[in-house]
Amino acid sequence: MNANVTLNWIDVGAAIDIPYQGARRVDTDLGAIAVFRTVDNEYYAVMDKCPHKGGPLSEGIVHGRHIACPLHNWSFSLQTGEAVGADAGKGCTPTVPLKIENERIFLGMR
């Protein structure tokens, strides 16, 4: 992997389109991406697929900087994508670079 790959920032929507403690899905050719907004107004993006049984993380409950998968309640850190709590160490969902500019959400794609 080349670490210096420049990211292609893509505008996927308005920041307000995601509710507090909520998420929306973005479809891509590499699979769906879940974009989250926390109670503290932080935005994160991870691949929308639980490493356990493939559940759509965008449908889970957002708490703190964590997301609980809707299928079997595994919890993941939105910052690292790693499973936390009882299921720590069992799996990881890849994170996706994200930035907010002019109230728009941009995802960094290669």
Partner: protein, 826 residues
Amino acid sequence: MDNKQRIVVIGAGMAGGRIVEEILKRDSSSFDISIIGAEACATYDRIQLSPVLAGEKSFDDIVTHSDAWYDANGVKTHFGYWVQSIDRVAKQVVLHDGQAIGYDHLILATGSDPIRLPLPGSDLQGVVAFRDLHDVDLMTKAANAGGEAVVIGGGLLGLEAAYGLAKRGMKSTVIHLVDVLMERQLDEAAGRLLEKALLERGVISVLSAQSEAIVGETHVEGLKLKDGRVIPASLLVMAVGIRPHVEPAKSAGLTVERGIVVDDQMRTSDPSIFAVGECVQHRGACYGLVAPIWDMCRTLADVLTGKNPDAAYYGSELATRLKVSGVDLYSAGQFGGGEGCEDIVFRDPGRGVYKRVVVKDNKLVGTVLFGEAADGAWYFDLIKKGESIADIRDTLIFGQAVTEALAGMDPNAAVAAWPDDTEVCGCNGVTKGAVVEAICGGADNLDKVRGCTKASASCGSCTGIVEQLLKVTLGDAFKAQTGPKPMCKCTDHGHAVVRKAIVEQQIKTIPDVMQAMKWTTPDGCSSCRPALNYYLLCAWPREYQDDPRSRFVNERNHANIQKDGTYSVVPRMWGGVTSAKELRAIADVCDKFDVPMVKVTGGQRLDLFGIKKADLPAVWADLNAAGMVSGHAYAKALRTVKTCVGSEWCRFGTQDSTGLGIKLEQDTWGSWMPHKFKMAVSGCPRNCAEATIKDFGIICVDSGYELHVGGNAGIHLRGTDLLCKVATEQEARDYSMAFVQLYREDAWYLERTAPWIERVGLEFVKTQLFDEETQADLKARFLESQAVFQVDPWAEHAPKSEPAKVFSPLADLRDGVSQETLKEQA
């Protein structure tokens, strides 16, 4: 040409199909596999021919490996061909049409042939064996013509054949040589029970009867017995046993005795040729059941693929189950008796129950169960384990539940004695060893054990065992949790304290609860947030603003999420009653949205599976247009009211149970509750609507209505408690509403009525509901809440003028989706 090794399998029956599957499971790329089968169809489960004959299953139901399956796995099939010869020198198999197929490894799975008695007349038309699909076809055709069937052979296969034919309307008689049916599995007492059970199902048994000749001109007309009797028959089935099919192994010069002789690795006398299944003779034994086939195929696949070159097959313990509907018969291991064998027998002829276990050297070696065979697998497991049963001998015959419950009288000792590999938590696959290790590593209470092992963290049914392990492992250091359990890790307070605070301190938002009760996390977790959301909307129906972000996915999306991320949709069918108009609208939705499966639910409604999230609003709009609303099948709320047809149609019905069920559903739909809530109304004590396993159930009687509460199926089955009897429909409805409200206000979130009533006691419920004023207050609060919540969530979200955006993705960046279009939408 590639360098793949060529495997040729002769025989496409159960063993042939299985060995191919087992090999591919281990290594799908190194072998070039061909399979040859004389039957012109795909591999099917021969064991299931009996249900096919009885019309309880179709052929498609029993196919295990279809042509398409072989194709998809790159296996060449030669179905409808038989083998002319095996050329061991050139290593090739020659088929009847002359084509030759080369092999590196040859596997014989030629199965067995039915034994045909050499009786005079056995070549008449209408004389068949019961072995393959062709036989079943012949028998089905004969049965369709009606008449009389005679089956020779009162073993497993013969009885299943006789039952199948009786079920298809023939007069069916079994002729058996000895005086007890299935004498190899049953003693006389059990044999008599079986005889009686079969007679009730239309099968006549003629015992101690020796066949002499089959009579008839061109077609069978009857069976003549040695004692001179002639039993008329238009169909005669021989089911007297099987014999290993040893051609073409024999012609090829392999060692053959009763069957094809193999070693522990399933190898024949030629090291390139193997054999599995019923054609095999292993350590002197020939098998006619499936379990050994599976064992043999696993061993051979391990050897051939090199996954375990030293794998070995040491023979199988056998268990059989008779496939006659409503006749529960199971036998396993040795039951023939013999030196040192002791029998423990339980008989209840009144109920038609007979159980026998055979003990040798303090070990269980065999069992026969008739009438109640649910414990078969447990006994079989004990037989296979071969451990001493001395400790449970006194209760062994009463089965697993009784034995384990009684062993549980000193529960800690029993748990302490478990081996480390015993599974404690079935949901998460956690063993006793893992739990003990966690406890020794510092997890000194239930929550910590749950945190690091997940044991008891899913359904919770093993919580007691985990607590016992804590006691056993920590000894005096273990302190049982005092005071109520905290709601979750975000707080030290239990449900009751938090709820009381919400009401007494008039707290009306989730952040305020967390503030007031000193939550340790910024915004709770997926466990406490839904609970708080419920407590608040229950306490303040008019003021609290529901928080979708604190609801589980199903309640947020008003549909049930499935494992693949699609949803299922259940429209409400009031009291389980529907109409042509509704069904047509549902059918139209299925067509329009390509619904892959429609399932009738246990709650008397239809469940539409496989619907994409983005389609949900449109599906709801169409269902709404036909007058249907959300069934709340996804919600902690009133689910269904199951009813029978009652006095409107049923000759036994005492009251209008359907009408009452519809009224109850109209009263209570839409009300959020601590957990799901199911109701039922049965029109008479026969209880066809199964009201006594519902949260609230009504049984109609001539003089009124019996009200039952606190039942559920679920992980722990609980029958209802009788609350009271009332005389009128209105009283029944008043009680139901007051009961629901009491449950809503008093039970903890995710506590169903069954555990709630166990916790608070039926007396508490009665005291509240029997007091007229309290009951009226509960009902009034319920109606106030209903005024707010009796709104169809589908209608709220179904698209009216603009599309419901939140159900669609935020953006679609896939190829072919224009970014311009996306911007327009935005």
